[in-house]
Symmetry: C2
Subunit: 263 residues, 2 copies
């Protein structure tokens, strides 16, 4: 199959960026679907294709259907879609949190095409740097997905449902939770009218350091050197922010355990 | 005072990089001191100056003494140094965690010169991007420090002891604690033989997003959208790692509170 016909369901962050990346490498997106007409139209115009806002109008003869919809919409959309499309179509979702097996009772060819990145509409992305985790229930389907993935990214990984679930847990720690720590840092400074800008170079360095080193080896700060006096000062300061004090205590304890049990 | 004579005490991460930055803009470092002869010698050769390994050999007539030593060495070194140098010298430390007032009973001119960055010997730094937080107990001393700081950095801030203590708490959250979360992410993946490389683009994006946006507005993930099903799946998976499960619970609760109380 040289140029499979693709339908993109969902025109949110993932659907929008993925469609553009696919279109740029010459994949044939024959239609996009979104319940929200503005989104459907905007994406269709961006990649110069057709759109629909109702599944009854879906293009029935595509080879590959991407479900780039919210996690809780994957199963309902897949169920409705079944009534319209041909039975040999390959159907995939783009979610890190949902098993591929969600399709098992509905379709004979299914899989997952999960770009491991946090997308937002306004921020352009370079797909070549984004790891794409693929999975399919059949060999032929897997080859199709792998071929498409390798066109848009240099990092393609075969990742099964169990591995992807673990990746998603780890992603929550490194992405969602670190972002929350950045928010806490900003919040603490704002209470005292100090600009968050002062911390940005430090944040960038924290990330630069782990590009070529294990985070554990790069750990610095009062906890990693067992500096109880500074830890106590910080806990005292955080008395008036008990929710942050708890977080400080727990993460400090984790670092202390880590750096005393093995050093 | 056009070119103050400077002595750098300490040849660790901060002393090493700060000395180089000062030397590059033409500041006159007349001597470096470290108890460790290899370090003292290496830094002195790097910036082409003299060194000593004993405070009794310190250059007594400098205008400015930098104490780039570990936090718990600042007071002892300052006390010993007092016996050797002239009484009008300006003495500063480079610590985020120590008040400038630590010098109050010893010296008449003192201050702080705190580059807000996490340094390591092997990683070169661009001082122009690093915020430098200065403080001095007298106007003239403050002007001297400010002049030097502006030579090496575009970001110079007058920060008093209280503000610097708060900055240091916030820095622990955004730097030390995020690095620990990166370690947890790596640890979770390694248990399942998945490469940490898969998460690095996501980590970089997390930081890119807050360059021009508030972290709170950039918060994503199961907690920010109140996705209890995914949260529960993740907690179940973490049953075998109770220390990580606790951290997951606490940070998730923080994000939930944050995004339900104000949205």
């Amino acid at each position: 199959m040289s140029s499979p016909k693709i339908v993109m369901l969902g025109a949110g962050n993932v659907g929008y960026h993925l469609s553009q990346a696919l279109e740029e490498v010459g994949c044939s997106i024959v239609q996009v679907y979104s319940r929200t007409i503005e989104r459907a139209k905007h994406l269709a115009e961006t990649i110069n294709t057709d759109y629909c806002t109702n599944l009854s109008a879906i293009y029935t003869e595509a080879d590959l259907y991407f479900l780039a919809v919210p996690d809780d919409q994957i199963l309902p959309v897949a169920q409705q879609l079944k009534g319209y499309i041909h039975t040999n179509a390959l159907i995939v979702h783009c979610s890190g949190a949902t098993p591929g097996a969600v399709f098992a009772d509905l379709y004979s060819n299914y899989g997952v095409f999960y770009p491991l990145q946090s997308f937002s509409i306004e921020k352009s992305v370079h797909f070549q740097q984004i790891p794409i985790c693929i999975y399919a229930n059949k060999q032929e389907a897997q080859q199709l997905l792998e071929g498409i993935a390798r066109k848009i990214s240099r990092q393609v990984h075969l990742i099964d449902d169990k591995q992807r679930a673990i990746l998603h847990v780890a992603a929550v720690f490194v992405n969602n939770f670190s972002n929350y720590l950045f928010h806490i840092g900003q919040d603490i400074l704002e209470q005292e009218a100090i600009s968050f800008e002062l911390l940005k170079p430090l944040i960038q360095m924290t990330v630069d350091k782990i590009q070529n080193n294990d985070p554990k080896a790069m750990q610095t700060g009062p906890a990693s050197r067992g500096d109880q006096a500074t830890i106590q000062q910080h806990l005292d300061y955080l008395e008036k922010r008990p929710e942050y004090q708890k977080i400080y205590q727990l993460l400090t304890q984790g670092i202390l355990n880590n750096h005393t049990s093995t050093s």
